[in-house]
């Protein structure tokens, strides 16, 4: 470290790597966030990539970004705007103008800012910074492409191969800027490319040369040291939401002693769940890629009937295809976990962008009176607990559970403390041969436990409990087909009551912030981090505000009404046009609800939230 560069301490910083979708920005971003987490920072990441695998090079719609926020505290989300932008081409600069602060540092690859590159990004002048009105940012040109090429001369690589390592040269610069030791990055690269030692060598060389280049020219007047987090001792790894979901399912399978079964079909942004579970044959997981979404859920229903912890994973359009089969699971009262990693809709919508628009579909998207459990994960790491809860509720209450996550938390990652599995509650299904007290010949499949209203689970292979279930309404006592009016009303009521009573087993809704405030912020699912930070900022400005965030949506926590009625003003903030607000209104009369809705396919912007919430507080 050159002595004449000043080191400045920062509590937190947001960095965005941006380039063509083939430039390796996701890898640079992932490596930087992982090594920062290992270094002791809290992290929150936001991969923002296009649906096209390789859009035409240098164009605006081919830009792929990876934002990471690191720091000691208050890292609840991936940050509004970037302190540092790495732009590998003019298009990457242009699409990120709204993601920059006034004094952001922009490190750009000057080799890719020639006039032909500017044309591709639809610039009309040869000064992109002036054209974009970015006079206040600190623009730092670095000939990243040519420097990478000279760095890798003599390693027996062709031109194309050498250029591919420019993301590592860029990462080296960022590592210098934030005083990250390269050893950890080297190790991560060795793991990542374990089977390609040549690539490891080249990438480490480019990374090191990038670091040294920045150091030698004293690229900026100051480098930065990010405070490390002081919290929670223990062992950590980093997970994104999809991986945490997978781990939650595996943990639940282990706890319940059941085989884990996944029936699925590839769909963005849920496919990683299929990928990860397909790898986990060591845990005996049977993960099947089926011919379509319907076969995905259908095989899962079959597996559930056969006694497995059965799961299907999808996104909004896939959930639509599954709805008829999901209703079969409602009617047959079989345990099933349905994971919907929400993306922007309707129809194909924006597959790689995130929103919370499937709530109505999850709650209501079926024929008939079809009550169901809906859970929404609140952060990448909370996907673990949510998937565990979803499995526990499905198995113990004989019901399908829809677990809503979203593209933002599914792909975003955070450091995750290895959980102590002894602290997680047992999972005990209501097996007929264990819990049913009567004689087997008197039993019928819709007999219920009196307290929980849960029917008994008789798994094929169990002698004396052969039975038939199905989509047709059955007599509550005999289990035989029935169109008796009173019986149907009774069964409709029983299915509803069974779901309602699950609330008795759920954690109560917590209120954060000023419990005695007039205004309550209400959110649900993946917006937790943004809303929490907005609440803290509002309190920082000396105003009183309370915040309640829902993890459990159907049924709602038992104290929901009591909490909501305490506040004069409730602002429900969600990434849809007001679905949760309408749901609350449909259950509780007379609440004074304000709505904050954004459906842009992008995460909330905390500063906007603060502004809008204060307006409501001051009303």
């Amino acid at each position: 470290m050159p002595t004449n560069t000043v080191i400045t301490d920062l509590k937190q910083v947001t960095i965005r790597f941006s380039g063509d979708s083939g430039d390796g920005m996701q890898l640079s971003g992932t490596l930087f966030s992982t090594l920062s987490a290992i270094f002791g920072n809290n992290i929150s990441t936001f991969p923002d990539y296009p649906a096209e695998i390789r859009a035409p090079q240098g164009t605006l719609h081919g830009v792929s970004g990876f934002q990471v926020r690191i720091g000691s505290q208050g890292i609840y989300n991936s940050g509004d705007k970037a302190d540092v932008l790495v732009a590998m081409n003019p298009a990457a600069l242009k699409v990120n103008i709204d993601n920059l602060k006034k004094d952001s540092i922009v490190i750009y690859d000057s080799d890719s800012f020639e006039s032909k590159d500017l044309e591709k990004a639809l610039f009309i002048t040869d000064d992109p910074f002036k054209e974009l009105n970015l006079s206040t940012v600190q623009a730092i040109p670095v000939a990243i492409t040519s420097l990478t090429k000279s760095s890798l001369q003599g390693m027996g690589m062709d031109n194309k191969e050498m250029i591919r390592s420019k993301n590592m040269f860029a990462l080296g610069i960022v590592c210098w800027l934030f005083n990250r030791p390269l050893e950890i990055a080297d190790q991560l690269l060795e793991q990542k490319f374990a089977k390609k030692p040549n690539l490891v060598q080249a990438n480490i060389k480019a990374l090191t040369d990038g670091y040294n280049y920045a150091s030698n020219i004293h690229m900026t007047a100051s480098t930065y040291r990010i405070e490390t987090a002081e919290n929670n001792k223990g062992f950590y790894t980093d997970v994104n939401g999809n991986l945490a979901t997978v781990y939650g399912l595996i943990a639940a399978a282990e706890k319940s002693g059941l085989q884990l079964f996944l029936g699925s079909y590839p769909i963005t942004p849920a496919t990683d769940i299929l990928h990860e579970l397909s790898k986990r044959k060591d845990f005996g997981v049977k993960a099947l890629q089926m011919e379509d979404e319907i076969a995905g859920i259908s095989t899962a229903i079959g597996a559930s009937f056969a006694g497995a912890l059965a799961v299907t994973s999808t996104s909004g359009p896939g959930l639509a295809l599954k709805s008829e089969a999901l209703n079969l699971a409602v009617m047959t009262e079989l345990p099933l976990v349905v994971i919907d990693v929400q993306r922007a809709g309707p129809s194909t919508g924006m597959p790689t962008k995130s929103e919370q628009t499937d709530l109505n579909q999850a709650l209501y998207g079926r024929s008939g009176e079809s009550p169901i459990v809906v859970i929404a994960a609140t952060s990448p790491t909370n996907c673990f607990d949510s998937a565990y809860w979803a499995s526990k509720i499905a198995l113990e209450h004989m019901t399908p559970v829809v677990l809503l996550t979203d593209g933002y938390i599914a792909n975003g990652s955070a450091a995750w403390k290895i959980p102590d599995m002894d602290e997680y509650p047992d999972i005990k299904p209501n097996y007929v041969q264990v819990n049913y007290k009567g004689a087997p010949e008197e039993w019928s499949p819709y007999f219920r436990d009196e307290e929980s209203m849960v029917r008994y689970w008789a798994v094929p292979g169990t002698p004396k409990y052969m039975h038939r279930i199905g989509g047709l309404e059955k007599d509550a006592k005999t289990g035989i087909l029935s169109t008796d009016p009173d019986n149907h009303q009774f069964m409709v009521d029983s299915r509803k009551e069974k779901i309602d009573r699950i609330a008795n087993d759920l954690p109560l809704l917590e209120v954060l912030g000023d419990k005695d405030a007039d205004t309550l912020i209400v959110g649900w699912g993946g917006t937790y981090g943004h809303l929490l930070e907005a609440m803290m900022k509002i309190r920082g400005e000396g105003k009183k505000i309370a915040f309640a965030h829902f993890n459990f949506i159907s049924p709602l926590p038992a104290n929901t009404e009591e909490v909501l009625r305490r506040y004069k003003k409730i602002v429900v903030a969600e990434q849809n046009m007001g679905q949760f607000a309408a749901y609350l209104k449909s259950i509780y009369d007379g609440l004074n609800i304000f709505k904050f809705n954004r459906v842009k396919g992008q995460p909330f912007i905390v500063s906007r939230l603060v502004e809008e919430f204060i307006k409501i507080i001051d009303k």
């Binding site: 950590y236 790894t237 044959k281 229903i301 056969a306 599995m421 002698p463 039975h467 279930i469």
Partner: protein
Amino acid sequence: MEQDITIQERQPKDYKSINAVRWCPGCGDHAILNCLYKAMAELNIEQENTVLISGIGCSSRLVYYMNTYGMHTIHGRPIAIATGVKVANPNLSVWVATGDGDSLSIGGNHFIHAIRRNVNINIILFNNKIYGLTKGQYSPTSDRGFVSKSSPYGTVEDPFHPAELCFGARGTFFARSIDVDLKNQTDLMVESAKHKGTSVLEVLQNCVIFNNGIYKKYSEKEFRDDKTIFLKHGEKMIFGKDNNKGLVLDGWNLKAVTIGEDGYSMDDVLVHDAASLDNTLQMKLALMGTDSDDLPLALGVIRNVTAPVYDEEVEKQITEVQEKLPKKSFTEFLMSSSNLWEKK
């Protein structure tokens, strides 16, 4: 769980449930159900280890009449659901009762893919060439020009032949029976169950209300011997009331001849090879009698070959991986992650 270890001979009635059978009087489904009771008794399979899955349609009510585990599911999906049952627990004997509407129309995708995967399930395909439960619309197996409530001027589309779909999806077992042919039908169900992989048994089933008599020319005693041929693996392809007719090759095509006439002797008659991996001849046999009446309709096991079984392969992969890796708890797995660090 206590297991019954004494070997008991099960009777057909042991597979009957308490539910009253509600098909129309005279429906071919009654015969199919009775054959299934007999076949299961002959196989002597435990009721608790047997699972019947059905979709929607008249055929699919069968599940309710079985004293086994069963699920009457939704339209078109029974084969996918049965795949889940079998893969989750390969020890179960898994059967599907389905129809031409259920599995060749709305569920066509699952039909071909289960066959392609060769999941070890037994599909009984009730083919009555009509939608019965919705009261008489044409089905994907109805002949071109068929007049029904939804085709008052006749259909303008060609039908599927189940065998073609099965062979097109590289099926490993295909057999055909006629509902009223009780003895052979029971035997074919037993053969289907013994086959490892997806077995398709197409049952030509009479709908007495909406499509009565469509198989009469094959099923009536006076025509049956001349209009059908019951194929047996390794045996000569002979048929006819007097067993004097046979199938021979005529160039690339099959031809029905009378033995002793036109210079044809028994030596010219083909021998049925259900186990041949090449399905060309089996396909020709399966399509006989469907588009013209010059050749007899083939009954019996037309194809029965050995191939890797999906549910077994799924388990095998797991076993292979587990044999290579030491058994770990979930926590041990996380703690051995290459991406782990300690905050002190």
